[in-house]
């Protein structure tokens, strides 16, 4: 009876369904990152992959041609440290080892920060559990396929990870808490309260994981010999740690101080697993040689520090120093806001430490791809890699650049002009919805207006 407004589908730029288009991006400055720069170059996208790169690329007649004259094409940006799109809590901070929880279960594909990140050229995020505990939750690599469901956003072939955390954050929960909620009650402490305890938690959990591994091996052996023993309990906390021991899962370790970085390397060597990346790693410049020897990557901030004690001894030269010592370094966001301009975060390594433009771009493209073990698929503009591309109107290492278009697997997921075009229509629809709601509310209250229901709309406010 009451007609519904025709809403769905107008709201946001959505991706066309069906097979990937054939697209020719013409006459751009192509920043391949790994194979130099091609001036006035073209890139052909076919079946979601990069099919050809060069000054003269011929394309089939039905290809969509994007004239990129004067623009810069770079690989889609990759963020090695993100908490975007996590629903219902970034931390399971109630326990010292929360390896049973999995970010994969709680990705919210409706999080508007995904779209806003796309608008800055970001195409891949390593979505991590928080740093509340020594061993945090399981992590996933997500492609920002805005408009798709959560399972469709998970990157195919990317190894899952697990978050570790050292230092102040995991031990903070050990301090007595005095706040509104604990008034009048003995404050609950959660182990550990010290850096010593953080080390002990990791060592103990891996000791348990090894016993668990042995227990299952024993069971499987007995079954293989024809027995019918009662199976051991499957333990969701220990399973991912066994995967770490077996090299099936990466460890991403949040850390600051050099002493705790060395501690974790010792524990890993003793237990027989590898750290894949040290995250934040603000004192990494002090132990870069040891990090490189362990084979770990380092994912750090560009230029912010001193927001807590363990972040005092930092320097913006960190990324450059570690790079020169042979560490694969990326610059990460750890933030819904910073992730929208990681290209500029990378550019700061040129100012601090003299990185070349290519080295700087590598910090947010091929290097994080290497750290996540996906550099065979993404991270540079090379024939055969996924067509994850970002088109900027100026050099992306310049403050004056804006991201114009983003492709993932050859699909266009962001277009600045189309976005701007959609806004008036979108705002009109929003206005109609509010007016309708106001009218209904007023009718129910016998014509008396109420404060909350009677708000005006202003264009472009909280659009999305």
């Amino acid at each position: 009876m009451r007609p519904l407004l025709p809403i769905i589908g107008v709201a946001l730029l959505t991706v066309g369904s069906g097979g990937a288009e054939t697209v020719l991006i013409r006459n751009a400055t192509v920043l391949t990152v790994t194979k130099g720069t091609v001036e006035n170059g073209s890139v052909l996208i076919e079946n979601g992959k990069i099919a050809a790169i060069g000054k003269n690329v011929s394309a089939p007649a039905d290809a969509t041609v994007v004239d990129a004259t004067g623009k810069y094409l770079m690989p889609g940006i990759i963020d090695c440290h993100s908490h975007t799109a996590i629903e219902g809590g970034v931390n399971e901070g109630t326990v010292s080892d929360s390896s049973m929880v999995n970010i994969k279960d709680v990705i919210n594909p409706e999080d508007i920060n995904i779209y806003r990140a796309l608008a800055g050229g970001l195409t891949i995020s390593n979505v991590l559990h928080g740093s509340a505990n020594a061993i945090g939750g399981q992590t996933v690599v997500v492609k920002l396929r805005w408009g798709k469901t959560a399972p469709e956003m998970l990157m195919e072939g990317a190894k899952p990870g697990i978050k570790f955390a050292l230092g102040e954050n995991p031990k903070r929960a050990g301090e007595p808490q005095q706040n509104f909620f604990t008034q009048g009650q003995a404050a609950e402490r959660r182990y550990p309260g010290t850096r010593l305890g953080v080390e002990e938690v990791i060592r103990e959990s891996f000791t348990e994981a090894k016993n668990y591994q042995a227990e299952w091996k024993d069971y499987n052996d007995r079954v293989a010999r024809g027995g019918h023993p009662i199976p051991p309990r499957k333990d969701l906390r220990l399973e991912p740690l066994v995967e770490v021991l077996e090299g099936k899962r990466y460890v991403h370790a949040h850390c600051y101080r050099s002493d705790e970085i060395l501690m974790l390397i010792r524990v890993a060597d003793e237990m027989g697993f590898k750290i894949r990346t040290f995250q934040h790693v603000l004192e990494g410049y002090k132990v870069a040689k040891e990090i490189a020897e362990h084979g770990a990557g380092a994912s750090t901030f560009s230029d912010w520090w001193a927001y807590k004690i363990e972040a005092f001894d930092a320097t913006p030269y960190n990324a450059a120093i570690m790079t020169r010592k042979g560490v694969v370094v990326s610059v990460n966001s750890d933030s819904d806001e910073l992730q929208r301009h990681l290209n500029l975060e990378a550019a700061k390594t040129m100012r601090y430490g003299g990185m070349t433009p290519t080295e700087a771009l590598a910090m947010v493209t091929i290097n994080p791809a290497k750290q996540l073990g996906i550099d065979d698929k993404v991270g540079s503009i090379e024939v055969g890699k996924s067509a994850d591309l970002a088109l900027f109107d100026h050099d992306p290492l310049s403050n004056y650049s804006k991201c114009m278009k983003v492709w993932i697997d050859g699909h266009e997921y962001f277009d600045r002009d189309k976005d701007l075009e959609t806004r008036p229509k979108f705002n009109e629809q929003k206005k109609q919805l509010i007016e309708k709601e106001n009218a209904q509310a007023n009718a129910q209250r016998g014509g008396r207006p109420t404060g909350a229901a009677n708000r005006a709309t202003t264009p472009l406010e909280e659009n999305r």
Binding site: L4, G88, G89, G93, T94, I230, L236
Partner: protein, 485 residues
């Protein structure tokens, strides 16, 4: 016959809301009967005797001595069934599917029949996000917040004062669930009448309700505090259940030489449950819970559903029944006037009531649930909102009757006006969902009630439907206390 009629009449005059002595037999003669299971009967007689529907039809024989109600101008419906409820458990607050993730969990109610739990401070009880009276867990292994062993059937009592209001809206039964923790306990189908809790129980156990309790960082509360923690917690419980069943089986086959599996209170409660109810209000929650339910390999039902207008096909294809909350999302009162509402929220508020009609068209098995809407005028208006948004009246009745019975596997005894079913019927003057309609009689298990006008219609300027939270007292909400104790 005359005697019992007169007795009923006298009693009806004496009290605003009457629960009358039951005559041996009642015949509602020449009424319009909405059977739900079959076609409507424009002029038929419904005979109730011994708490059962003895006969239905144009020529049904009226037993000698029956109290005969002249059904001319009256309509007989099957009694309505609340698809997910806390009715019958005093003090229990419905579990909000919509606020399941990312927001504070409600404070825990204490049903009187539940075992005592440790004392907490006042601050805790009044603050959102804090679980009152939860012993803090030392880790997942202590299985905090599992009450799978608790039974609604043991907790229900006819003294819950919401029952009277529910009957005034034509409800005669409810699928009621205990209401604490994450795994909340075994539900029961109850009739909203009886001398004791035992009289009320129709069927049990009918399932376990799952609620995600999210909020709090570390201090004060135990594991789990995040949505991902809640999910892995339940996943572990079901893995444990698998192992438990397997261990018991292996042990039963050869006790000699095998270690005896430990008796597990929590897992027994899970094992006994024929299905679980998973909260899913927004589209990503619906996707997530369909996948999760399938992973757990146990029959499941989704509840919430306010953004299901985006996921009708997926729900239909996965063949999962859905319970739609009648607490329609509305603009919150007294918010900052300069706040511009979020587009997604606006769309949900606009389209949520259309979900039921879309489900009916797509062939999704669905029902409504009260979700804290518990006065007759509010319940009626809430269903009317779904009808205005495209649900047919027949489908609305079905969603409140036979569909609920089918979802919980009790369609052999409830949900339609059919011979042999429990005598739960509602007799109205007018269509069930029209404003001016009055309910003349409500029969629950054969007991007759005549709800007062005040309870049925509320005050002249009653609150807007769906705007009230929790279970406020009538006085606090500015509602009349007519007929309530």
């Amino acid at each position: 016959m005359k005697y019992s009629h007169a007795l009923a009449a006298v009693a009806l005059l004496a009290a605003p809301f009457l629960r009358a002595a039951v005559p041996t037999a009642v015949a509602i003669k020449d009424a319009h009967v909405v059977t739900v299971s079959g076609a409507d009967l424009p002029k038929a007689t419904v005979v109730l005797r011994n708490g059962l529907i003895e006969n239905v039809g144009p020529n049904a024989t009226i037993p000698a001595g029956a109290w005969v109600i002249d059904g001319n101008g009256l309509t007989v419906y099957p009694g309505f069934i609340d698809g997910l409820s806390t009715w019958g458990i005093p003090g229990a607050i419905p579990a909000p599917a919509g606020r399941a993730a990312g927001a504070a969990a409600p404070t825990q109610p204490q049903a009187p029949a539940q075992p005592p739990t440790p004392q907490t401070t006042t601050e805790e009880q009044i603050s959102e996000g804090m679980e009152a009276a939860q012993a803090r867990s030392r880790g997942p292994e202590s299985r905090p917040q599992t009450y799978s062993f608790e039974r609604a059937a043991d907790l229900v009592t006819p003294t819950d004062n919401r029952l009277e209001a529910a009957r005034a809206a034509g409800f005669t039964s409810a699928a009621t669930f205990p209401n604490r923790g994450i795994v909340e306990g075994l539900g029961a189908i109850i009739d909203l009448s009886g001398d004791s809790g035992r009289d009320m129980v129709v069927a049990q156990p009918i399932g376990q309700q799952i609620l995600f309790r999210v909020g709090g960082f570390g201090g004060g509360r135990g594991f789990p505090s995040s949505l991902m923690g809640n999910i892995s917690y339940i996943r572990q419980l079901y893995l444990d259940l698998d192992q438990y069943k397997q261990a018991k089986q292996i042990y039963a086959a050869s006790p000699n030489g095998n270690k005896r599996p430990e008796y597990d209170h929590d897992l027994e409660g899970l094992a006994e449950s024929p299905r679980i109810l998973l909260p899913a209000d927004q589209e990503q929650q619906i996707d997530r819970m369909i996948a999760f339910g399938q992973e757990l390999k146990t029959p499941f039902v989704l509840y919430g559903m306010h953004e299901a207008f985006k996921r009708v096909d997926q729900i239909q294809q996965s063949n999962v029944p859905a319970l739609i909350s009648l607490k329609w999302p509305v603009a919150q009162r007294d918010t900052d006037p300069t706040d511009v509402p979020n587009y997604r929220d606006l769309v949900i508020r606009e389209q949520a009531p259309a979900v039921a009609g879309m489900f009916a068209k797509a062939g999704v098995k669905f029902a409504f649930y009260s979700d804290g809407v518990d006065t007759a005028p509010d319940l009626k208006r809430a269903v009317k909102k779904a009808i205005d948004a495209g649900l047919s009246r027949a489908d609305a009745v079905r969603a409140l009757t036979l569909n609920v019975a089918e979802i919980y596997g009790v369609a052999d005894r409830l949900g339609s006006v059919e011979k042999g079913k429990i005598a739960n019927v509602v007799v109205t003057k007018g269509d069930a969902f029209d404003d001016k309609t009055t309910i003349e009689y409500v029969f629950v298990d054969g007991t007759v009630y005549q709800p007062s006008k005040e309870l049925q219609q509320g005050p002249p300027n009653g609150g807007a439907p769906g705007t009230r939270r929790g279970n406020p007292t009538p006085a606090a909400d500015g509602m009349t206390d007519g007929g309530r104790n």
